[in-house]
Symmetry: C2
Subunit: 345 residues, 2 copies
């Protein structure tokens, strides 16, 4: 697959891209990756093999940015509101938000977007995240973003253990990821109930194409060597892929991409006051991407009783026991496997 | 070993004890344990085996307490200052601290101590913690606390994988754990430089005897089934041991206790501005309690260079990559093995 052969993207070139870390201030892997690339005196000697040297783009400009500097300084996910839920079009159109993150969203959108614009300042945004769940190396794309599909496939060709999560708007217009239950949660649950179909509130949506890197498990607030190395390998692969694309060099990728598509979130059991009354069952912890069968243990309540799964078969859970999703009323998210073409037929 | 045979503790009986969770507000395991025991309608049916039913004390009163409710509500380690560094005698004697935790320390000390008093309200304090480091199930004691040694040994007899960390004041009066480098760090590093020899600032010091439970690895801000079950098994074992002691029933314990004694903290490499320039080396991550030899990889700097260990041989690191210790300038803590008698000779 090469650019000039793509029926829809043959004239799409990435002139300028942005690499965001610290969108969540306590996810330090992305912060470290960005700071390595912001260094005033870049490392001119080849790095030893263990930690890959930052791949320098040759055909485009890559701007490393700390997305939420105040939260990074405080080592918290956010100050007032989850920054990665601030980019719905309607929210961006409001000029007088009192809170820090929604003001910051406006700044980022102005500088690198604007979202939905015909000629955004950047054509690609790479947003770096981590999770306490056992996702392994993962990227998240909007299925409707055809260039993101190609990027994900190219990274997966280099790092076969990479998995691809996706969200999209169903033909009828209903967003398949049902996060409405969390919309009123502190700091923002899922997209606001009023968001337009396919109008997602994520930072990666403000440029023409976008991709989130998501690696776990890692606790919040720390840097781990293994996570950092994997993060850097993914970013380097993305940079090399964009260079190849811009040069019209063929990408060595298969014809289809397997994605795990979000279908809905599952909350923890709660009492009448809203307090959580159970934890993820020890047999379920870390089973991200495994098929869930009716009757499988899901939760262990604080009396010691096992609560089994009672939903449909064939789905695969992800983000099991993500620390920041307690407030979003999400114990885990269900996905279904889907095979997508890399070139529309 | 039975109480009536102990040369120093034969008349020591625990009438009242306190079980503290949430001393650090984002360590949710202890919070969950305490809330299970605060339940207004205690579970009267036997719990299924997986999550142990809370052992009810039969010879003493056990008060479950959320030590730092404001930090628990905020899901942060602390609001103004690390509560578990607020209990140095001099700090407790000051009545007009402006910050929340030092006020709270005064309240806890009044209610369950006072520290150093001849007749404290509680004779035992169990303080529940977790860590992002790979400690496994661990308890921390003050070596000079002879009853805590017996408690640790009794729990270890039931749970052989349990390890015991200890701190103590050397005969010359110098506290062996050198935490002075962190004394000026935000939220409190180690004990204030002015603390008296053996006068530790930890919550577990305010009653006649005290013990900290410390389990890892677990990210901050979440509850994990495996950690919760282990926490509850340790607490239950402590409760049973105290009942046996009070009743003068023999404790089935060996004659000595192996402890890992704190000898000093190691900071991360930093630049001239104080910014961290390296991470724990991937080969060192999770090697808590393993012997460290000169030349072993310790850090991987952000250029990719390995920084080896250059200190003396024979020591064992713990708290490797604990998230809350970045601000305390502690990448890990070194310990040395020590065999202590359970009955003084």
């Amino acid at each position: 697959m090469r650019r000039s052969e793509h029926p829809l993207l043959s004239s799409f070139i990435v002139h300028s891209a942005v690499l965001c870390g610290g969108t969540h201030g306590n996810e330090r892997t992305g912060v470290t990756c960005v700071r390595r690339r912001q260094g005033e005196e870049p490392d001119r000697e080849p790095s030893p093999d263990l930690l890959p040297r930052p791949q320098q783009p040759e055909t485009f400009q890559l701007t490393p940015v700390i997305a939420n500097p105040k939260a990074v300084h405080l080592n918290r996910r956010y100050v007032d509101f989850d920054l990665n839920r601030c980019f719905a079009t309607e929210d961006l159109s409001c000029q007088d938000w009192p809170d820090y993150e929604r003001q910051r969203a406006g700044v980022l959108n102005q500088r690198f977007g604007p979202k939905g614009g015909s000629d955004p300042a950047c054509q690609l945004l790479i947003d770096l995240h981590t999770t306490t769940a056992d996702l392994g190396p993962t990227v998240i794309i909007n299925e409707e973003d055809l260039f993101a599909r190609l990027l994900a496939a190219a990274v997966q060709a280099e790092l076969p253990q990479l998995r691809v999560l996706s969200y999209f708007a169903a033909p009828g217009g209903k967003a398949l990821r049902d996060t409405s239950a969390g919309a009123g949660a502190p700091g923002g649950g899922g997209p606001a109930a009023s968001h337009h179909p396919g109008d997602y509130p994520y930072l990666a949506e403000i440029t023409t194409s976008g991709i989130e890197v998501e690696i776990g498990p890692i606790p919040q607030g720390l840097v781990r060597g293994d996570t950092q190395i994997m993060n850097e390998r993914i970013v380097n692969s993305l940079v090399k892929t964009v260079d190849s694309w811009n040069r019209d060099t063929p990408l060595e990728i298969p014809e289809t991409l397997l994605v795990y598509r979000f279908t809905g979130d599952q909350d923890y059991p709660r009492d009448h006051r809203g307090a959580i009354t159970a934890m993820i069952h020890p047999d379920f912890q870390g089973r991200d991407f495994s098929i869930l069968a009716p009757g499988d243990p899901l939760f262990l309540d604080f009396q010691g009783n096992t609560i089994p799964y009672q939903g449909p078969g064939g789905l695969r859970p992800v983000f099991i026991n993500e620390a920041s999703y307690y407030e979003k009323r999400t114990a885990f998210t269900l996905t279904e496997e889907q095979t997508l073409p890399l070139v529309p037929r």
